[in-house]
Amino acid sequence: MTEVLRRYGPVLTGAILLAVALWLALLVVLPQLMMIGFSFRPSLPPSKLGGPEDVFTVKNYLTLWTNSIHLSIFLKTIWASALVTATTLAVCYPVAFYLAQVAPKRRLPLLILMLVVPFWINELLRTFSWYIILAFNGPLNAILLNLGIIDEPRRFLGGDGGVIVGMVYVYILFMVFPLYNAIESLDRNQIEAARDLGAGWLRIHRRIVLPHAKPGIAVGCIMTFMLAAGSYAVPALLGGPNSRWFTEIIYNWFFEGGNWNQGAAYAFILLVLCIGFILGAMRLFRVGLADIAK
């Protein structure tokens, strides 16, 4: 801290500390704590706040156990997000490996730019593009009909399938960049050496590339899972009443059920799920927080 003072002087140091304190306290930490505290209180009309009924309770958390529809939606959100994560990983790995180790140097800037551009495009618009494709009278149905694979148009929108397909598309770029960055730092000589010593490509990937890419895999999986589990846009646009997502239940508690305490409890459950996934991924891939937050 003395070094901060020595470098910036008292006035600037004061301003810097004040700004950082404001950000972390008012915008990050206190709101989270408030939300958690709120989730352990019953939902009461303003007149009863602070009264004898305003006590600590876990009732809002038990709701998830007793409401079988909410529980099944919660579980579906978990496995569907995991499926989205696994699919993006499988699709992106070959691309990331090609770009990082195989692609000719002069072609690389253009290929990277072609990845960067869709990454910048609004998530909602990328979701919307799949709304058009999956629509009842959309191009996917037209193609399948023409090929004779189906006899009459199918409803792709409003089901879990459409939501999962859309999520893979929307979040795939959050997987490809961490993978690329990790594989790019691998010395190509290691691959050459393994090949010279007679290793097949499967063994090269399993013993050299994959272990080296672990931090990237961890980051990609964490980002993708968090975005999928916390997505509201994709299920709202591509889903329907029969394919509700956990975030939609949370939204309904706030803006339709009018029970903020209950909504806060569900939000905290979602947060715990994501933190759990982060810790699990860090253990599984044996990476630290410093590797992740790059």
Binding site: V4, R7, Y8, A19, W23, L24, L124, R126, S231, A236
Partner: protein, 275 residues
């Protein structure tokens, strides 16, 4: 055919498929703008039209939503960029455990689902200050995580900063304020610009967080989502097409600037080594 050629062929096919997968949906969405069908689609093709751009132009609520988005974006730049800058300046001078802890705390909003950022902001500001959803809370909620992006950009640039410059200025009698204004800030100017651009884009496209804190205000992204669900016409595609075109221009310009900057830095490093 040799094994090597087969592998090259398969790799090429996979890449074509992958990039086709990335761009084809956007192309289909864009193409539907020019179809005179009342519902946005490319099948069946009912004839070429530009009338959906006119319909978009005449949409008063779209312009209002655009205005809201611009205001929120400006607010986020004004709040998140200085916060990110202060955080990066502080981290740059800290060491070991304090730094690790603060860093983890600062990037934690990036690992938190957007809906939770929105919810916690909504609950906190109502309970403590009696502020309900609206423009102000939208700016606050978005800034809480966009400041982290800004911090990362500033930190990356500060890492390459030559501290000797500041030391020399201080030794020659400059005040801390002068050093900051004349040396540190000018050095950080490119990062301030890119952080502002990133903050604006992040704010503009945000949906998950905004949805919970917007109150009765409607940003353009929220407006598009509402239109898709109730009252979808190809005018939404026209709007998407315009936004995507602007984004591509912005992204390409940003990449070119970034690469030029990287080359310049690499060049000066070489010059230093050979000197």
């Amino acid at each position: 055919m040799t094994a090597a050629r087969l592998r090259r062929l398969l790799t090429g096919a996979y890449l074509v498929l992958f990039f086709g997968y990335l761009f084809l949906p956007l192309g289909i969405m864009a193409a539907a703008t020019f179809n005179s069908s009342r519902f946005p689609t490319v099948t069946p093709w009912m004839g070429f039209t530009l009338s959906w751009f006119q319909a978009l132009w005449d949409d008063q609520r779209m312009w209002a939503a655009l205005g809201t988005s611009l205001m929120v974006g400006a607010g986020v730049i004004a709040l998140a960029v200085p916060l990110g800058l202060a955080a990066a300046l502080l981290l740059d001078r800290l060491h070991s455990r304090a730094k690790t802890f603060l860093y983890a705390l600062m990037v934690s909003p990036l690992l938190t689902p957007g809906v939770i950022v929105g919810i916690s902001t909504l609950v906190f500001w109502r309970e403590w200050f009696g502020v309900s959803g609206g423009l102000f809370l939208t700016v606050v909620a978005q800034s809480s995580f966009i400041a982290a992006y800004a911090m990362l950009l500033f930190s990356a640039r500060l890492e390459r900063f030559d501290l000797v410059l500041e030391e020399a200025a201080l030794d020659l009698g400059a005040t801390h304020g002068q050093v900051f204004r004349r040396i540190t800030l000018p050095y950080l100017m490119p990062a301030i610009l890119s952080a502002s651009l990133l903050a604006f884009l992040q704010s503009f496209e945000n949906y998950n967080t905004t949805l919970f804190v917007r109150g009765l205000d409607t940003t353009l992204t929220v407006y598009i989502a509402t239109k898709v669900r109730t009252g979808l016409t190809p005018a939404v595609n026209a709007l998407s097409l315009v936004l995507i075109a602007l984004t591509i221009l912005g992204a390409v310009a940003y990449e070119i600037l970034r690469r030029r900057e990287a080359r310049r830095l690499a060049g000066s490093a070489v010059a230093l080594e050979s000197a």
